[in-house]
């Protein structure tokens, strides 16, 4: 029993990471009906930029914890900029010409380019990311948890709540929701919907970059870290539905926990399988996701 609980708890942190990345997919899908298939690379770039920033700050004789906190705004700003670039180069034209598939190819291509750039700047090796919190596990009723895993859950939930608060409480957030509801009608309200779409790409990459520096201290950092995470989060976005914030959290947790269970009871070699099986199951049984209404067209 306690082994099972341990596995569930361990699966939660990585599940929340899937959830945050999937949340990022939702942000752009809501406003533009397009996705950034390079979302995993946005996470990877965020983590690597964060690594450079935190190492620089530690070099200024800051403690790891403060260096980590100071690094966060740099990474968030970088993520927003990176998302803006993706929208300008890869998506804007496709939306204008109402191209059905242009943005798919363009965002995949940009993802590959980002990965190559990262390999050249940071090398091909996996790098250790300094942990801002003690790495020794805490023990609650016999279940061991790393402090950073708790931080991941808090950070991920906090990020999503912050976006939710922005959408509900501020007029700019309401403009985003209006654009997601009905783009033409939002235009009639005086909302520059093209800007809103750019903004949602910026926000989406920002959440991915943030997820990158959340997960980096408990994994390793490197140019290849994004691909698998991005793909699994895509599965989560489909499982949870592309329109439900709660859906991606639950979907992420389901996937994260199933993976640790598979890794323990079957074999770590099959760890990546359950996500894809879940994806296939949901796609065939409930194409709109477990929680969602919107279906994604032709993807």
């Amino acid at each position: 029993m306690s082994i099972l609980m341990q596995l569930v708890v361990s699966g939660m942190a990585v599940g929340m990471i899937y959830g945050v990345i999937a949340f990022g997919y939702q942000l752009t899908f809501a406003t533009s009906k397009t996705l950034n298939f390079g979302q995993g690379e946005a996470l990877m770039l965020g983590a690597l930029v964060g690594l450079t920033a935190i190492n620089f700050l530690i070099g200024q004789s800051l403690g790891t914890f403060w260096a980590y906190l100071l690094m966060l705004p740099i990474v968030l700003a970088f993520g927003a900029l990176q998302g803006t670039v993706v929208e300008w180069l890869g998506v804007r034209q496709a939306i204008k010409t109402k191209s059905e598939a242009g943005w798919i190819m363009a965002t995949i291509a940009l993802g590959i380019i980002f990965k190559n750039v990262a390999e050249n700047v940071w090398g091909r090796d996996a790098l250790k990311f300094p942990s801002p919190l003690p790495e020794a596990s805490l023990s609650f009723w016999g279940i061991r948890i790393q402090p950073m895993e708790i931080a991941i859950v808090i950070g991920a939930v906090g990020m999503m709540l912050a976006v939710e608060f922005f959408n509900r409480r501020t007029i700019l957030g309401k403009a985003v929701v209006a654009t997601a509801n009905d783009r033409d009608a939002a235009g009639l309200m005086g909302i520059d919907t093209a800007k809103v779409i750019t903004f949602s790409y910026a926000l989406s990459s920002m959440t991915a970059a943030f997820a990158g520096v959340l997960v980096a201290p408990v994994t390793l950092t490197g140019a290849t870290m994004g691909a698998v995470l991005g793909l699994k989060a895509f599965a989560v976005a489909i499982i949870g539905g592309l329109s439900s914030g709660l859906g991606v959290v639950v979907g992420g947790l389901i996937l994260g926990v199933t993976e640790t269970l598979t890794g323990y009871y079957i074999s770590t070699g099959y760890k990546d399988v359950p996500g894809l099986v879940l994806l296939l199951l949901v796609l065939s049984l409930r194409p709109s996701g477990l929680f969602g209404k919107a279906t994604i067209k032709k993807v």
């Binding site: 007029i171 309401k174 929701v177 033409d184 235009g187 009639l188 309200m189 005086g190 909302i191 520059d192």
Partner: protein, 240 residues
């Protein structure tokens, strides 16, 4: 106030508006009538930038607005209550109203007192006050129509475009909508009204235009059009 000259517009290769010339003077109510598919909605869409016109000129208070994106046209004071209501379904009534004032809240238009205007809308449409926290998507059709009109008014517009505000409403509500339009007219709001109830529209309007297959075929004083035998036969028969 709003002046349209030689407007031509198409959907793809299909030309829908051939040569529209039309004027809405300041403070007046102009009715645009015509049978289904004549191009009334398309005319309003071209004015508000939902559809880029092929050629022609549209000026609002002296500014050329033809071909500008909707959000810029709105900033010149054009409000459009579109066909099919198009309220923001997942937002509450109050937020829909605030979004109507978006250019005012973001500095693109004179701000004025937005809260007082929300209050004014609740007085004009008491049903909306009762439902101010309800999601717009769960309102009845009639309530959504009221919301679409109120949301457009929240701009404090120079010109208000109304596309079939009575569509799908019960007869009693249709009367209510027309009495609200009459009140807006008393408040000197400049309006271009598209209506299926041509008789009622010409009753409240100052001027009228008749649109047929993308061409203006008749125009003039609303009272004159009401008594025109051709108009009576084609548009007013039985719709009262």
């Amino acid at each position: 106030m709003l002046h349209i000259e030689n407007l031509v517009a198409s959907y793809g290769n299909v030309r829908v508006l051939h040569d529209i010339t039309l004027t809405v003077p300041k403070g007046k109510l102009v009715a645009l009538i015509g049978s289904n598919g004549a191009g009334k909605t398309t005319t309003l869409r071209a004015i508000s930038g939902m559809l880029a016109p092929e050629s022609g000129s549209i000026t609002l208070g002296g500014h050329e607005i033809a071909g500008l994106p909707s959000y810029e046209i709105t900033r010149f004071g054009l409000a459009h209550s579109p066909e099919g209501r198009r309220v923001f379904a997942t937002l509450p009534v109050r937020d829909n109203l605030l979004l109507g004032a978006y250019p005012r809240l973001t500095g693109a238009r004179a701000r004025g007192d937005v809260d007082a205007d929300v209050e004014r809308m609740f007085e004009l449409f008491p049903r909306l006050r009762e439902r101010s926290d309800q999601l717009a998507g769960t309102l009845s059709g009639g309530e959504q129509q009221m919301l679409a009109m109120a949301r457009a008014l929240m701009l404090n517009p120079e010109v208000l475009l109304l596309d079939e505000p009575s569509m799908g409403l019960a007869p009693r509500l249709v009367g209510e909508v027309f009495s609200i339009i009459a009140r807006l007219k008393e408040a000197n709001i400049t309006m271009l009204l598209v209506e299926q109830f041509a008789a009622a529209a010409l009753e409240v309007a100052d001027f009228g235009y008749v649109l047929e297959n993308g061409n203006i075929t008749l125009s003039g004083d609303a009272a004159m059009l009401r008594n025109d035998p051709a108009v009576r036969d084609a548009y007013l028969g039985g719709s009262h």
